[in-house]
């Protein structure tokens, strides 16, 4: 069989993308379960533990319920846009999944060497930023088309918040790009494989990126509408924000999109700052890389859940002031600092 013929390559890619989507949605399902259990633990409750052993089948019970619920469309909604909005949200969330390298090059029996990444290209990082910025439309249009004042307020708040924090998110990554000299995520991960797999961008003194990492982490929480930045769906003021009028599977699509976005920013943080699949022993046993990657991503997901159980919500003016007057200047400062640091190269190249 000719592995290099275009048709075989296209089919292989399609299979890989399908497998990745299914995997991502499984992780999302169990993140939701983990969130409910961990939050319950933080609040001194039990959480869902009836379906399956310790509640392990709960996500499937939820899914079944979402499918079987009545799908309500408000009479005065703008029909076409109302249907389009959840589709935009979930498609944009899932599309970024194809560029993350989740493991090093492994050798399979009669296939040969393959890199554990679905596709590599020159502008992978810009692709991620671009697709996530298009995802705003899902929320904004959902708020507008529902013909409900709470939805509209939620949609407007959300788009204002996403536009504001996108800036500091993008700028906080410039430091890493500057130091790595490439936008290809696989190459960025490969550069961090020294020191027996522990030469992560966060730890390297020649690439000092602690400030960038902190700015990224905060903006990423705001980008995914999570506590303490969950104003678009502040239930005490706005019922449920932009998805007030959505029910059944359409609501589930928004719900999944939110968790997929969480996963996206966790994966990006892992890739850019925490060395991606690098870790001790990956050089000799490559498949260990997938394990390390998952551990790091799960750490970030846990951090999100932990924050949700700990922090109260911002006020809207505080949110805007924090984004524009604090986070953005700090991100710009980080760029200036990184450029100076790279120019004078105090610690030399550590490779």
């Amino acid at each position: 069989m000719d592995w290099n013929s275009p048709l075989v390559q296209v089919i292989l890619r399609l299979v890989a993308i399908t497998v990745a989507f299914v995997g991502v949605l499984m992780i999302v399902a169990y993140t939701v379960l983990a969130e409910r259990r961990v939050l319950a633990f933080i609040q001194g409750r039990l959480g869902p533990n009836r379906v399956g052993y310790g509640g392990l089948l709960q996500p499937f019970a939820d899914l079944l319920k979402f499918i079987l619920k009545e799908d309500i469309v408000p009479d005065k909604s703008t029909r076409f846009v109302y249907f389009l909005a959840p589709v935009i949200a979930i498609v944009c969330a899932l599309m970024t999944m194809i560029v993350y390298p989740f493991g090093p090059e492994i050798t399979l029996p009669w296939i040969g060497h393959i890199q554990l990444v679905i596709t590599r290209f020159d502008v992978a990082l810009l692709y991620v930023l671009g697709i996530t910025s298009v995802g705003v439309y899902g929320i904004a249009l959902a708020g507008w088309s529902s013909n409900n004042k709470y939805s509209l307020m939620g949609g407007l708040r959300s788009s204002a918040q996403l536009i504001s924090y996108e800036l500091s998110l993008g700028l906080s990554l410039v430091g890493v790009i500057l130091m790595s000299g490439t936008l290809d995520l696989y190459a960025i991960v490969e550069q961090q494989s020294g020191w027996n797999g522990m030469q992560w961008n966060l730890f390297r003194l020649d690439r000092f990126q602690l400030l960038g990492f902190i700015v990224y982490l905060i903006s990423a929480i705001a980008e995914t509408n999570r506590v303490p930045f969950d104003l678009p769906e502040a239930e005490t003021e706005l019922v449920a924000g932009f998805h007030t009028e959505y029910s059944a599977m359409k609501f589930a699509l928004f719900f999944m999109a939110e968790y997929v976005n969480m996963l996206t920013v966790s994966m990006l943080a892992t890739t850019l700052f925490l060395g991606g699949w690098n870790g001790p022993g990956v050089a000799s046993i490559p498949i260990l890389g997938v394990f390390y990657f998952l551990i790091k991503v799960i750490f970030f997901l846990f951090l999100y859940i932990w924050l949700r159980g700990t922090l109260p919500r911002f006020r809207f003016d505080q949110l805007m002031n924090f984004g524009w007057k604090f986070l953005l200047p700090v991100a710009i400062l980080n760029i200036i600092f990184s450029a100076t640091w790279a120019y004078f190269n105090v610690f030399g190249s550590m490779n």
């Binding site: 020159d122 502008v123 810009l126 671009g130 507008w144």
Partner: protein, 222 residues
């Protein structure tokens, strides 16, 4: 394969562009325009210019159109009703300009074909890659790049100045905390011509200025 993808994305771009012009609802027009931008980005990818494609998505689809959609939502612009054409003279102008554009495109295609160069495979080209664009910007085209950045800075400063001026409160208005901004003559009709503002900082002062009792004065309550 490539031809198939080209037909798909080019068709999508043309379809979305037509829909943008034809739609009555401004929000539908905006959504169609986003569709045009995304299909154009796909075409750029096929021409081996991934950087331009990514920038197209980030700047146009992700930033500018979000602002447009935001404004349409905020102002809640209603569906356009068919008006009598006041600007009738624009129709022949539009036809003329469209004809010029088509002639231009035809001329470019004709001159490229008459050169007789063989078609290049775009996938082997390095021009569209990030590194070559960056090198070009900071060596050969450094001066235009710097001039553009100064222009952008001027635009930012200008936007800020304009936005700031709009929020200034006119001199002949007074502010009553907890109430609303009222023109001065609503309090005292005799001073319509008097431009000096009466400034009150608390509800008590405002009540005094309006000749009323302070609603929050605790000593008046038994």
């Amino acid at each position: 394969m490539v031809a198939l993808l080209f037909i798909l994305f080019a068709g999508l771009a043309v379809g979305c562009a037509l829909s943008m012009v034809v739609q009555r609802n401004p929000l539908y027009s905006a959504i169609s325009l986003i569709g045009v931008f995304i299909s154009l980005a796909s075409l750029y990818v096929m021409l081996a210019a991934p950087f331009i494609a990514a920038v197209q998505i980030i700047v146009y689809a992700g930033a500018i159109m979000v602002l447009v959609v935001f404004v349409i939502m905020l102002l809640n612009v209603e569906e356009e009703v068919r008006r009598t054409l006041r600007l009738r003279f624009l129709i022949p102008t539009a036809v003329l300009l469209a004809a010029v554009l088509i002639a231009e495109a035809a001329f470019v295609i004709y001159s490229v074909q008459s050169e007789g160069k063989p078609l290049q495979d775009p996938s082997t080209s390095e021009v569209g890659l990030t590194a070559s664009i960056g090198t070009g910007l900071f060596t050969t085209y450094l001066l235009p790049f710097e001039i553009t950045s100064v222009l952008l800075l001027m635009a930012i400063v200008g936007a800020m100045t304009l936005a700031r001026r709009a929020t200034q409160i006119p001199d002949n208005a007074i502010i009553i905390p907890g109430a609303q901004v009222l023109p001065k003559h609503t309090i005292d009709p005799n001073v319509v011509e008097d431009p000096t503002p009466v400034i009150t900082h608390t509800t008590a002062e405002a009540a005094e200025a309006m000749g009323e009792e302070d609603p929050h004065d605790l000593s008046k309550i038994d």
